[in-house]
Amino acid sequence: MYNEMEIRFLSLSGNEGFARAVASAFASQTNPSIEELSDIRTAVSEAVTNAIIHGYEQRTNETVLMRMTIRDGILSIEVHDDGCGIEDIDLARKPFYTSKPELERSGMGFSVMEAFMDRLSVQSEYGKGTTVMMQKRIAHGI
């Protein structure tokens, strides 16, 4: 089976829950287990939160783009922002590293995405924006 969707929403923190709900509803078509669905929700939440907090530095009038595809039981998710970009991606991906300790962030965002999805890649251009791409094979996926 093949399917795709794309949504754009404002960089409001209240849209983190909205993005999770949309991702979960779309992913449901692949016949995922409850655990797989929970992993997808969490990974999407991390990516969207990063776009809002780091990409857009909490400005609420910007746009986050989420694109998802399903191809033969493989779910791909892209979360994109046109924000400030990441200067050092390797550093940003390190467990417990956070560029904003004052916000009491755990520094586990990318580690969670890595642990809960099968593949994670990050493309970023400093000053221009970031795209996070994640993939998960659904065990009994269609």
Binding site: I34, T42, E46, E104, R105, M108, G109, F116
Partner: protein, 101 residues
């Protein structure tokens, strides 16, 4: 996010229910810290059985309160984790520092 608290001696029992993400983190942090201003609190017991979602922002809230209590010689205990909360707790290694009941 909904929070119900009860204090018994030096122990503060807090039941958290709902979703703990970046959006609800700040409000949750403020509510917990307001209660922790009472310096007689030595133990914070977080009952998470009503939590339907938690991501790394939630870990940040819990770790922050853990630090606060550690500094005054107190401790933080978590209980009632459902499968998805338990999964992010295990993956983050938080059980190595926060006590579970």
């Amino acid at each position: 996010m909904e929070l119900n608290a009860q204090k018994r001696g030096s122990r503060l029992f807090v039941q958290l229910s709902g979703e703990l993400d970046h959006h609800s983190a700040e409000q949750t942090r403020i509510m917990l810290d307001t209660m922790l201003r009472d310096i007689s609190v030595r133990e914070l017991i977080l009952d998470l059985s009503g939590m339907s979602f938690m991501d790394s922002a939630g870990l940040g809230v819990i770790l922050g309160r853990f630090r606060k209590l550690s500094m005054r010689g107190g401790k933080l205990i978590v209980k009632g984790m459902n499968a998805s909360v338990d999964r992010i707790f295990r993956m983050s290694g938080i059980y190595a520092i926060v006590e579970r009941q």
